[in-house]
């Protein structure tokens, strides 16, 4: 974790009303300007955890503190949304206004900002997300999926949260679309200083973009370490049905030939291969 802690989760237990325990004693901290991936099989608690991180869900036991706010307290929601944003997996579950402008302006208006401030926020968020002002009058429904996703991210960024959580940003997208949204999230992290957390099943994406990985299984944290370290532990990952990226598995299958087991990309394995052969 780098810099100041923005979110502190202590011994978090969350049970749904039917008694299902989705989180079973999670402790972790999220700092300033991190790029984190939450991984684990379906039902491991990823989405529940991320909804606890921005107060959509309140802890059954334990606590989630966002800077000076405790998500268990009543009436904090409007302050939380200015600190932690959550982008739904399917933009269509999030977008409900009849123009792009109203959609992005909704949050800032809802927390009572004045007209000029709302306008400034809308323009800023749209610019950062590559949503052109010509589109402000369009109905979000008629935009491409990639643009709808950008509008939904813009509507979150308009609240100027320091942390943005994106649920499955690349699901159902082709390669070019995936690269586009991931590079955009990397810019938010690198240039704008946001902390970005993604929930994903796509391990090559995790290897390329995330610096830290939190591995969840049955509501517990199985591993919380650098991406490189996490992918060098396939034994632990298998407990939550996650496999390292194919290039990492290839390196691991060649470990007895002297190849490093924590390779994350084709380029790294090429270097490792050449180093090995020159010995």
């Amino acid at each position: 974790m780098s810099g100041q802690t923005l979110i502190r989760v202590e011994d978090l237990v969350f049970e749904y009303p039917d008694g299902t325990r989705a989180l079973d004693g999670v402790t972790l901290g999220i700092g300033e300007n991190e790029f984190i991936a939450l991984i684990g099989q379906n039902g491991s608690g990823k989405t529940t955890l991320s909804k606890c991180l921005n107060g959509i869900l309140r802890p059954t036991r334990g606590s989630v503190r966002i800077e000076d706010l405790d998500t268990r307290e009543r009436g904090v929601t409007k302050r939380i949304v200015t600190k932690v944003g959550y982008v739904f997996q399917n933009p269509d579950h999030q977008l409900f206004n009849n123009t792009v402008h109203k959609e992005i302006a909704y949050g800032p208006r809802n927390i009572g900002l004045d007209h000029d401030e709302v306008e400034a926020r809308v323009r800023e968020a749209a610019r950062v997300c590559g949503v052109r002002e010509e589109l402000f009058g369009e109905h979000p429904f008629f935009l491409t999926k990639g643009l709808r996703q950008r509008v939904s991210i813009a509507s979150i960024l308009a609240m100027r949260p320091r942390v943005i959580i994106v649920d499955e940003p690349t699901t159902g997208q082709d390669r070019r679309q995936s690269v586009e949204v991931m590079n955009f999230l990397r810019d938010l992290w690198e240039r704008s200083g946001h902390t970005v957390a993604i929930i994903t099943h796509e391990m090559p994406i995790v290897a390329e973009y995330a610096r830290r990985c939190v591995v969840l299984g049955q509501g517990r944290v199985l591993l919380d370490a650098s991406t490189r370290e996490v992918f060098s532990r396939p034994d632990v990952l298998a407990r939550t049905f996650v496999k390292p990226p194919q290039i990492t598995r290839l390196a691991q299958a060649l470990e007895d030939r002297g190849i490093r087991r924590d390779v994350l990309s084709v380029e790294e394995l090429l270097e490792e291969f050449q180093r090995n052969r020159s010995q």
């Binding site: 379906n42 699901t171 679309q177 290839l250 030939r257 002297g258 084709v266 090429l270």
Partner: protein, 290 residues
Amino acid sequence: MNAVTIRGLGWKYSGRDSFAIEGVDLDIAQNAFVSVVGPNEHGKTTLVSCIKGIIPHSFHGVWRGTVEVLGQDVRELSAQRLAELVGFVFADPEAQFTSMTVEEELAFGLENIGLSLAEIDRRLAWVSELTGIGGLWDKSPYEISGGQKQRVAIASVLAMKPRILILDEPTSMLDPLGKDAIFSILADVKREADVTVVVVEHNVEQVAPLSDLMVLIHGGRVARAGPPEEFFQDCDWLVQHGIQPPQATTFLDRLRREGLFTGRLSPRFEEDVAALRQLLGPPQGGGGAA
């Protein structure tokens, strides 16, 4: 005779300015396993819809060229005959469900074509075994998991014993375990069922090892087609055309272009591992890198 023969195929949807696909020539041998890959909105679904005959039978537009299914022109085949010859599985399995229980869902099509009860039982037993849905017969197809839904959808189409089975992004809505189950079923279908499989899929890493033929559709045209060993040559070109080759294959392709590897490019992980182990020589004493 080919399962599918396509010559000079073009299709423009009514109201659009340009052709969704154009100048497509393709030969698909009987019982081949074919993967259709490429970026979204570049014509993959349009192409398979022409093989199923959904285009031109259910859409308005401009058609060019010919599509033959088992030697018969799809434009001359009746909807019923096409339904018998070509099965179609959608990305969203709920799109095809009509019944209250899985068993009824599976039996619906079979009763419709007038099969005997004994034959229906035989087919249900066969597809349940193949797709691992035996325990779900009494359940509502709407209440089971996404992966189970897709297995039921595949089972109900396979039960009709189509000569050609088309699947349009069958794993795009599933988690990794659900995806693995579908690819394992497709491997069994390839091995055991007497059927030509055409699958539209983004997950090249998992679908390529099963494929006899890979087809890249880009800009409405066949940009590259061939068996996997040829298809994956020059992986950078494939990446520029919007697909992600398996990382192990990409690695071997890079080695090959740097003159370090002269073997063939397999999309099968185990074969790539074996080739590299041979290249690197015997295990090193002590096991660790310096």
